[in-house]
Structures are given as C-alpha cells and as structure tokens.
C-alpha cells in the first residue's frame, strides 16, 4: 500500500516535467500524453528497482532501456521518430541535485585558499555519480536500436 502511494506520487510528478520539456522541444500536441506515459513508467520502474536494492546507475540504465522499448512501440504506432518521446521521457531522471552539488563544490574549491578534503570528496563523488547516470540514461535509451534493430530501420 505504501509502495503504491510512492509509485503514484512518482508517476504524477514525473509526468509533469516530461510534458513540460516535451513542449520546450516543440513536440506536437497530440503526442504530449505519450511522453507523459513513458516518463511515468520509466521513473516508477527506477524507483521499484532502487527499492529492490539496485544501485542508482544500474536502475537508471534499465529504466532508460524500458523507456526505449516503450517509445519504439509508440513510434511504430504513430510513424514518428522514437527520440521525439524518449528525450522528454528521460528528463525526470536527470541527476539534477548531484550535478548541482558537484558544481557548487568545484566553485567552492576554486574560491578556497588551500585544498580542502571534504570539498574534493564532494566534487568527485557527486561528479562521478552525475557522469555515470547521464551515460546510463543515454546508452540505455539507445539499447533497443543497438541490440534489436541492428540492420533494419525502426519505422
């Protein structure tokens, strides 16, 4: 029951950024709802996997691959390129606070007179998390094309 509430919360609040960013990318209006669906499913899948004990990088990778599969199904139905849905759908999983912490630590390191270990620690750990989550997102999204649609076009 508690898990269900968490998932509903996740689904709702990740559908909003998916639609918002889809509008920023000028996705046609009739496709906006599919961006929202893909975004919610991806974020919920990641939450479930992280609760199951998987590290955030691997769960992000798997969730991005799931989004890739779903958006290819949408693309086949509407005859539109899959990235049209997919990029907006992965936006809720962008590692925003990790990136923010990295940047702030680096700026503080620049301003300080001597090398402070806790700032360096924060910069490196948050920075590595940011880079690997971003890589997992984009490579995960490309997975269906790399594994299954090797020699033929998707649409």
């Amino acid at each position: 029951m508690e898990l269900l509430l968490v998932l509903l919360n996740d689904a709702f609040f990740s559908a909003i950024p998916a639609v918002g960013f889809a509008m920023l990318f000028n996705v046609p209006r009739r496709f906006l709802v599919f961006c929202a669906i893909a975004g919610s499913i991806g974020h919920c899948a990641r939450t479930i996997m992280m609760r199951g004990g998987l590290p955030i990088e691997w769960s992000t990778f798997a969730a991005a691959a799931i989004i890739g599969v779903i958006t290819i199904a949408f693309a086949k139905r509407h005859l539109a390129p899959p990235l049209l849905y997919a990029v907006a759908a992965i936006i809720p999983m962008i590692p925003g606070s990790y990136a923010y912490n990295t940047v702030i630590a680096i700026v503080q390191l620049t301003a300080s007179q001597s090398l402070q270990p806790e700032l360096l620690n924060s910069a490196v750990t948050n920075g590595l998390k940011t880079i690997f989550i971003l890589g997992a997102l984009s490579v995960g999204l490309a997975m269906p094309a790399l594994v299954y649609y090797r020699t033929r076009p998707i649409i």
């Binding site: 996740d10 609040f13 990740s14 909003i16 950024p17 639609v19 918002g20 960013f21 889809a22 509008m23 920023l24 990318f25 000028n26 996705v27 046609p28 496709f31 005859l79 539109a80 390129p81 990235l83 049209l84 997919a86 990029v87 907006a88 992965i90 936006i91 809720p92 962008i94 925003g96 606070s97 923010y100 912490n101 940047v103 700026v107 503080q108 301003a111 971003l134 890589g135 997102l137 984009s138 490579v139 999204l141 490309a142 094309a145 790399l146 076009p153 649409i155």
Partner: protein
C-alpha cells in the same frame, strides 16, 4: 532520368536533410531518412557526409553524380518539423508522393512553437515537480515555481531577440538563482538548497546531450563530439551565471 530531374530531386533531398539537422535530429536518422527519400524518388544512391555545421550530399543516377553542400545553422529543437519530415519520407516510400508533392510539402514546413503563456507555467511546474521529487517541502516548491517562471520568461525573451545561446543561458541562470535564493533569507522553508538546485534544471541541455551520445555510439563521432562540446559549453555558462548570483547573495 534527365539531368534536370536529378538536380531537382537532389535539391529536395538535401533540403530535407538540412531541415532535419537544423531542428535537432540525430545524425543516424538524418542519414537514414535522406537515403530512403532519395531512393523513393528515383535516385540510385545517396551518400551523405555530415559535419558539425555543414552537410555534403552526392546523388548518383546512371553513372552521373551530383554533389552539393549546405551550410547548417542551428534553429533550436523542433520535433514537429522532424516528425513532418519523417511523414514525407514514408509517404514518398509508399509511392503516394512524387517529387512535386514532396516539393510542395517541404515548402509548406514552418516551425511552429508553443506560445509563451503555455510554456512558462508548464516549465515552472516541471521545476517545482523536480523539487518535490528530490524531497523539497511545499514552500521550496513554491520558490522554485516563482524563480523558474521568471527565468523562463527571461530565456524566451532573450531567445526572441536572437542572443547567443551561451549568453542567454548565463543570464537566465543568473536571474533564476537570484530569485531562488529567497529561501535562504526568509525562514519559510527547511530545504532552500533543493529549491536552488531544482530551479536551474530547466537549463539542462537534454537534447544536445542525448543526441551527442547517440551519435557517438552509432559511429558519427565528429558530430557527436561537437554536440557534446556544445552541451558542455551551455552547462558551463549556466554555472557561471549561478556562481555570480550566489556570490551577490553571499552564499559562496
């Protein structure tokens, strides 16, 4: 096929490829769509060489080659145009469209964008949702909403005045961070840090980054690296804007 016809078809195909690249399609899609469109319209083969800001295309019919180059200027991301071009390619492939119909439909493409009054509230709501998802409380979300709606307004204003995208991002990040600092000065929220982190998330260069990795993975290394560089520069310039704002607020 006459030489004139080949020239004309080559022009249509290279126009389609130019539009696809200018409005933010990945290189693999550009190559695939223009080759399919060319073959559907009767060319024997179409070869493309894509670089960061130009496009060279050669079409071959009956041993006669036509090579043409197009300069590409970035127009921002517009998926509606990419979607329309994909439609044209599929219709030509099914034999429903010939060169004349393709020319007419290509001439009719103009990039439509969402109006400002719709874009600003949705982006602000998106940033507020980011704040909520990362664990911010209600007032942090409200501060995020306020800051990012003002920031989005500035961003659209500067974009409409054709400022360089890097300047645009720096100024937008500055304004957004300046307003998002509110939580540090008024004790209304427990999580002022999350509000600041979420408000600038609207500047994440999502499309350039995904396109960059996707290009590099699929073998278009030079285009991928240039897009990666663009995304990095955009991030760095928003960091500069944030830093100046935080130093003004005395947080650094």
């Amino acid at each position: 096929m006459y030489a004139d016809t080949q020239n004309d078809i080559t022009r249509q195909v290279v126009r389609a490829a130019q539009l696809l690249l200018a409005y933010g399609a990945e290189s693999d899609l550009v190559e695939e769509l223009s080759q399919r469109l060319g073959r559907a319209l009767g060319l024997a083969s179409v070869e493309l060489s894509i670089s960061a800001n130009a496009l060279v295309m050669t079409s071959l019919v009956h041993g006669r080659c036509v090579t043409t180059t197009r300069r590409i200027r970035e127009h921002g991301i517009n998926m509606a145009v990419v979607c329309e071009l994909q439609r044209i390619c599929l219709l030509a492939e099914k034999g429903l469209y010939g060169p004349n119909e393709v020319r007419k439909r290509l001439a009719r493409i103009h990039p439509r964008t969402y109006p400002r009054w719709a874009l600003i509230p949705t982006i602000a709501l998106s940033c507020a949702s980011f704040c909520h998802l990362s664990g911010g409380d209600l007032f942090a979300c409200l501060i995020t909403f306020l800051a990012s709606s003002v920031g989005m307004y500035v961003r659209l204003l500067l974009a409409a005045r054709h400022f360089n995208v890097l300047i645009n991002f720096a100024v937008t990040a500055f304004v957004t961070t300046l307003i998002a600092q509110l939580g540090y000065f008024q004790p209304i929220t427990e999580t002022p840090r999350l509000a600041m982190a979420a408000a600038v998330l609207m500047l994440v260069p999502g499309f350039p980054m995904i396109n960059a990795i996707s290009d590099m993975v699929k073998g278009h290394l030079n285009v991928g690296i240039s897009r990666w560089g663009q995304a990095t520069l955009m991030t760095v310039s928003s960091v500069i804007g944030m830093t100046i704002a935080m130093q003004l607020g005395g947080l650094l």
